[in-house]
Symmetry: C2
Subunit: 149 residues, 2 copies
Amino acid sequence: MSRDQLKLDDYLPYLVNRVGAALVATYTRRALAANKLSIDMWRVLAILSDNGGQRQIDLSSITSIEASTVSRIVTRLVRLGLVTRGRSETSNREVLVQLSPKGRALVKKLIPVALGLEDTAAGGVSAADLVQLKRTLRKIYANLANAQK
Amino acid sequence: MSRDQLKLDDYLPYLVNRVGAALVATYTRRALAANKLSIDMWRVLAILSDNGGQRQIDLSSITSIEASTVSRIVTRLVRLGLVTRGRSETSNREVLVQLSPKGRALVKKLIPVALGLEDTAAGGVSAADLVQLKRTLRKIYANLANAQK
């Protein structure tokens, strides 16, 4: 590639952003809008479902959502009865965010839609190419996380 | 994958979002913050540099930024003297957004940083895997765009 112009259709950050935005749009239409969830609310619920209770600071790093925004989102989810904030069993000073039974039921209902989104996205992509894609995305994330230091 | 749980570390939308957020964070630190640009402002400037003057409605679809947000961003970029809004040569009723000489100079200065971001991201990824990754991302975007219809 010439080093003095961007060809966006061959520029990785552009391609990643475009796919990311399309994934959010499709998932919003299929699942989030009807449940009055924002994509960031969903991301927090999905992490809690996959990883169990989390401290807010860890929610921020796992979801890539800014800490102050995570705090606002958790407050909204608490009001909706989808998560609880409570003391950790191992440390009385730690506040853990956890799914409530209602939150757990909502995530359970949406997981098939979330998996269907991945199926739509990967339609016509071979299983081997999909594995390779995910491996490369993990590698790229690690490169960027290292560059951050 | 079991169909009743999400394994986020193997879930494509999660991996894409995480890479997207890391790309934005790194590029903000390396280029945008010092130039008082938001990532969306940069996206509009990059499109105008790559594709020439655009109607606002086309800027929205190319950047994946909502139309009302694009309008706000263009207004800010006009105030900063980086773009102009003017009549198209081919149709007097069409308003085209174009880079100003100052905007063109800024993009020219940032393109090497943007290409360096891609180099950082793709460190240790073979050229063949990178080509394959981009091809798969284009395919995924097409799948999602078709699902939209």
